[in-house]
Amino acid sequence: MRIKILIRLKSQILEPQGKVIEQALNNLGFNEFNNIRQGKLIELDLPDNLSKEEKGQKIDSACKKLLVNDIIEEYEVLG
């Protein structure tokens, strides 16, 4: 099963890249595009025979140990 983990900086953390992207889009005429923030997406395969709980546990553990720095980031597993 393909798993997608969305990682983003917590809302109170400055995300300068998003600001620059927003500026560039505004310059191109996309004036309605506001509050842009850039994150990252990690995709991976997990075996289908794992239960939902097992999958959740493994993903949370991997996020805690390596994929996410919870001082500055938060994550969400996409369906």
């Binding site: 300068p16 890249q17 390596l66 720095n69 001082i71 500055i72």
Partner: protein
Amino acid sequence: MSFKSAVITFPGSNCDRDALCYLQDLTKSVVYSIWHEEASLPQVDLVILPGGFSFGDYLRSGAMASKSKIINDVIKHANDGRYLFGICNGFQILTEIGLLEGALIQNKNLKFLGKNCFIKKKFKNNFNLSIKEDQALQIPVAHNEGNFYCDNETLKSLKNNEQIAFEYCKGEFSNSEENINGSIEAIAGITNKKKNILGMMPHPERAYSDFHQSQDGKLIIESLIS
């Protein structure tokens, strides 16, 4: 007294050689060069995690290096109360290991900063004993993620426990800035509570020799061996 030290090299470290020369010249003693895949450290007084882009800064700066094989022994070394010093990427690695609090995020102005800057000591510890109060040290920086961040509670505890070792300050150059990268309270370097671990973004190993613009970086090693 012989003050022994070691420098760890990760794939992508690029200040390991500078750190080695820095230690050799100033300690006049044995300096080991250790590859990150080695399982154990020799008994030394000081370990330096050098600057660079370990593992290409993949995922987050310092994230992959913080899981290297040698790190278990680096933690043991620090838990024994001996000195551990992370410079630039080494500082990022120390926060990723969790030996130092906070995190280093992208510089506020999105620029890679490669230039001289000035820092002064904030709270006294063994790494800055030889530095006078309000003495502005000229030390180069070279980083993209040097913007120190922590939550308010952590900041309060860093202050209460006197863990802020260095902060950026104005110097003799007319264009020198008070806070070059947006760090909270202009923090340039912090220690752990026991004050045997220091992480800082500026590079003292690029400011010690006669051929460097400044020799202020000497003061850190001189503080430790004095």
